[in-house]
Amino acid sequence: MIAGLFNYWIVIVLMMAGLYIVMSSGHLVKKIVGLNIFQTAVFILFISMGKIAGGTAPIIDSAITLYSNPLTHVLILTAIVVGVATTALGLAIAVRIHEAYDTVEEDEITAMDAQSLHEENTASLAAESDK
């Protein structure tokens, strides 16, 4: 059983570590790093389930009779490309955030947002009381 499930357990550890980085990190770029790791771990999960012991890569050859599952490979090819697309867009937004806030630390950004929300609220209260 250990040999049969070892792959999956390691993949679970990797997935959870990636998710932990996303949730715990305050740096926006590091969040995307975590997201990447999380996704890559899921890819390994898919590819692990497509492996057949003693099989070979699914490229037809008359000498070979046993192939691993090509469908999971196709799905993960797609998912990898989706992953890099998300990464690129996320980084672009992070770069814009850096330009707008001059920081990419989430805590500082949250504080700045709370500050501006507070200012807006006091401004509208003042506007209310004017009338």
Partner: protein
């Protein structure tokens, strides 16, 4: 020609997108986008007519039969969602031109329309497909375009809202991917029809149970079910003004459709709700969502943020309807999906028209706008009344079904709570109406004029539809009722 309609439905906007990205002139891009989306609406109506009598259209992409190839499948439920996406999406895109003019350079405008078209096409793709993995692919197209659309907001907080949505959305999508992987691991297929046939043999398999858990969490993130709604208020508030109307109408509704499709069709009611008792989680969460989000909405002083919180509450109504699991409840959920999309899109669009003139969505800046922009505010008021659920409007129909659904269950206190939440809706909508009609306009807004026609007409179409669907419920509640019957009848 007629048998190619499902592919044409997607292709109209999918092909228009790259062409649109090459146009240098924003006006041409707008013309192309509106033409493509309205044609797409026509196709959606034709498809709805075809499946009206319970027919099912199946289309094999690449000519490969399912489960080997990818099947596109249109039945009553997703024909209704198609109509929702195309009709309301087209109305918003038509109104978009004025709100972009002067804000963006021409080339940026055409990129912006391209992003809209991609989102539009992807939502159609999610709606029509019958392949579990294909849902994930198009979900990502729509999500990526949504992130880009939100991040273009004028306030810098649009960027953080978009980033937060990107992180949560990607986690949600990856959870859905894990769920699909588990389904494939146990059944060996990705076609929804095939999955639903092969799954009952594996109900006791823990992998399938985990798959349900991951799917529910993942899609709940996308739908913004109560504790996972965190991204929605900021995203809606800081997104560019008309964009919010589009997102509020379509994106979360299509996610909700995916939720219905998977929970009811793929996993099946018996597994998801009877064996795994999903209702015991969803009902309390959605009740909490309705009450808390309505309460938060009352205390907002920004009209856009107020409507965003109201969206969280209204989405909880739909989830509640589903979780009730009786004919009235499901009817309520599906018809409210349509009605709320219509009313919220209209409200946000009317608000966008007001912001276009007064350049702010703060309540105190909207003071007296009922006199300076009477037509826009009139449309807003009609749809606001609809949102509250006053009889003769669309909102009433779905709330009526929802309350009778709770009564069918014998949950009187819940019915009372729903009425209380409607009263809360009266308060928050009333807050805007009160400011608009009964407060004097600030002096700097004395020269505010009525919104341009290209925004005003879509607003009034939305308002008139709100009344029309309050009187004629054949398309909404009628169709939803039949869908509900078919789900409950089979099980």
């Amino acid at each position: 020609m007629i048998e190619q309609l499902p592919a044409i439905q997607l292709l109209l906007t999918l092909l228009a997108a790259p062409i649109c990205s090459m146009l240098r002139n924003g006006d041409h891009a707008w013309r192309l986008a509106t033409a493509a989306t309205w044609l797409s609406t026509v196709v959606a109506i034709m498809l709805l007519i075809q499946v009206w009598d319970g027919g099912v259209i199946s289309y094999q992409m690449g000519g490969w039969p399912p489960p080997w190839g990818i099947e596109v499948r249109i039945d009553e439920l997703n024909a209704l969602v198609l109509l929702l996406v195309t009709l309301f999406g087209s109305l918003v895109i038509t109104a978009l031109r004025e709100s972009l003019r002067g804000v963006m350079r021409h080339q940026r405008q055409s990129l912006y329309y391209t992003t809209f078209l991609l989102c539009f096409a992807a939502l159609i793709g999610i709606t029509i497909t019958a392949d579990a993995f294909n849902v994930f692919v198009f979900l990502e197209v729509s999500s990526l375009s949504t992130y880009a659309l939100i991040a273009r907001g004028r306030d810098r907080r649009a960027l953080t809202a978009s980033f937060r949505y990107l992180i949560m959305g990607t986690i949600g999508a990856t959870f859905i991917l894990i769920a699909i992987g588990f389904l494939y691991m146990v059944t060996g297929t990705l076609n929804m029809q095939d999955l639903s046939e092969r799954l009952p043999a594996h109900w006791d398999n823990r992998v399938i149970q985990a798959s349900l858990a991951f799917f529910t969490v993942g899609i709940a993130l996308k739908v913004a079910v109560f504790p996972l709604h965190y991204w929605l208020p900021n995203a809606y508030t800081y997104a560019p003004k008309a964009t919010t109307a589009f997102l509020a109408a379509t994106a979360t509704k299509v996610s909700l459709y995916v939720m219905i499709r998977f929970l009811f069709d793929v996993y099946g009611i018996e597994f998801a709700f009877e064996k795994m008792q999903l209702s015991t989680i969803l009902v309390p969460l959605s009740i909490a969502g309705i009450l808390i989000a309505s309460l938060v909405a009352i205390f907002q002083n920004d009209a856009k943020r107020l409507l965003a919180w109201s969206s969280v509450a209204q989405l909880s109504y739909m989830v509640l309807g589903l979780a009730l699991l009786n004919a009235s409840g499901i009817t309520a959920a599906i018809s409210h999906m349509f009605n709320h999309a219509m009313m919220k899109a209209g409200l946000f669009l009317a608000l966008a028209a007001m912001i276009y003139r007064v350049n702010s969505s703060k309540l105190h800046d909207l003071a007296g706008i009922g006199r300076t922009m009477p037509l826009t505010t009139g449309a807003f008021a009609v749809m606001g009344v609809g949102l509250i659920g006053v009889p003769m409007t669309a909102g009433f129909v779905s709330k009526w079904y929802l309350i009778s659904g709770t009564l069918d269950k014998g949950w009187l206190p819940l019915a009372a709570l729903l009425i209380v939440s409607s009263l809360m809706a009266v308060v928050y909508i009333g807050k805007i109406i009160d400011v608009a009609y009964f407060k004097p306009a600030p002096p700097q807004h004395a020269d505010v004029r009525e919104a341009p026609l290209s925004m005003l007409i879509p607003c009034w179409i939305f308002a008139l539809l709100t009344i029309y669907f309050g009187l004629d419920t054949r398309i909404t509640a009628g169709l939803a009722g039949r869908v509900a019957q078919s789900y409950l009848g089979v099980s």
